[in-house]
Amino acid sequence: MSAPKPEFLKFTGHQSFTQRLVLSTLTGRPIHISKIRPNSPTNPGLAPHEVSFLRLLEAVTNGSSMQISYTGTTITYHPGLITGAAPGFGAIDDTIEHHLPATCTRGVTYFLLPLCLLAPFSKSHMNVRFEGPGVITSATETGDLSVDSFRTAILPLYNLFGIPAARIELRVLQRSCAGPHGSGGAGIVELRFASQVLLPKTLHLNRSPGRIKRIRGVAYATGVSASNNARMIHSAREILNPIISDIHIAAQYDQAPLVPDTAEKSGSKKRMGIGFGLSLVAESSAIGVLFSADVVVPPKGGILPEDVGKRCAYQLLECINSGGCVAGASAGTVLTLMAMGSEDVGRLRLGRNVVGTEEVIGLARDLKKFGASSWGLRDADDDDTGDIIVSVKGTGVGNVGRKIA
């Protein structure tokens, strides 16, 4: 920060795009990403959701600048201060409105996950309202969580870092599944993140992951018959009930959002983003150990609600089976917060197959590039699960030192 021209950290590829931008913003180091889908014959360069994420970053920070090359395959990003929804910086009624385009194929959690990593370090509250024809609140075929899983399986994890989750609120004002061809949705989601901290604590989640004591879930049907909910719940329970009895799955039925029909004559409207899906979260007796599963019907349909329920139950079992204290979907969040938190060594118990994913290894490498220390890995030897204990040393990126650009 003191050097007048800090070196750009160089990355290639479109993988972990949001993760790298978040780390760059948190550590204040500018980055240069090249070779973003250079060989794709149809869609070279940045995808719509990535451009959208850049716009979001621009909205919640002050003084960040980015240059995207003509073809969109190269981008340089100069991070600014994380201001959040500060008055005078584009916030209307203390809320930043972020518009997602209809071409967006990712669920809204694609934006929420990285945004929530920035939020604890923000200067003022991070209140962002996502709207527009691209907001998909359900899980997506592209591998995003549903907002329900995000709220029940990711947000509680912030408690462990001394970031009170009670002050984080995710309001789903309008639900929507993915529109035709998987893009677009027209939901409305508002994130109100009022838990800004000086320095997140690190985490010692290296004990036994406990035992699963209950399963909660949300079945959602948007714009289709509410009986789909009952059918999904029934078939998921068929599989899970023999293993555990404490299962509660809420049924959520909404009308699909009504949007102006651009293809038709002016004034006519159509329903958008219909579909159904199931989100399941297994809670363990150990605090902060959550496993989630999400399955949604593909936009083109053709899958019975019974199958969605079954698949979701199987996915949940698979997720629990992978072991450790943190599931794959939330490992990135937890590990990043540990690495950015206080300068302590934190320990995290992860399943062998959770550590052994490209995402986690990519995160380890990216963190090291941004100046964090290497992780220590060792076997958890108190039982025969084969879990790995990852020791992460924090870099002490707090809110204090971030007041200067």
């Binding site: 479109h14 993988q15 972990s16 795009f17 949001t18 993760q19 250079p38 060989n39 794709s40 014959p41 869609n43 959690t109 694609y110 996950l113 899980a139 592209t142 591998g143 995003d144 969580l145 992951p209 406990g210 035992r211 004591k213 599989i239 023999p242 293993i243 555990i244 009895s245 007796s285 599963a293 199958d307 079954k310 698949r311 199987y314 996915q315 079992l317 698979e318 629990i320 072991g323 794959g328 979907a329 062998r352 550590v355 052994g356 994913t357 490209e358 995402e359 290894i361 380890a364 490498r365 090291k368 290497s374 992780w375 890995l377 060792r378 076997d379 025969d384 699960t385 084969g386 790995i388």
Partner: protein, 105 residues
């Protein structure tokens, strides 16, 4: 889990060593860790071929987006979780397990 332990590759120490080896891609690290790539010599010989096929490979990359939920073959999962042994093994992870030590029971 016990099966994993008996295999010489797939050791934690190996991963710690391989993880920060910038020469390898994350995918290669994993394959090597899991013992799917045995010797390095083969790679050197194949490298020319790999260059030749690079284009096709990159197209595959373009499909691989960041996912929070991995892709599963649900038919396989259904088979896996219809086997009683697997369910019984997983039952240990639930409070309903009959070990006399259920926290909540």
């Amino acid at each position: 889990a016990q099966m994993l332990h008996s295999r010489p590759s797939y050791r934690t120490a190996d991963l710690a060593r391989l993880m920060y080896d910038e020469v390898l891609t994350a995918d290669e690290v994993l394959r090597r860790w899991k013992g799917e790539v045995e010797a390095e010599e083969e790679n050197i010989e194949d490298s020319e071929d790999e260059d030749f096929f690079k284009k096709a490979k990159h197209d595959e990359d373009a499909i691989s987006e960041d996912r929070s939920i991995p892709q599963y073959d649900y038919d396989q999962l259904a088979v896996k979780w219809s086997v009683d042994d697997n369910i019984e093994q997983l039952r240990q992870r639930f409070t309903t397990a009959n070990l006399g030590g259920g926290d909540d029971d």
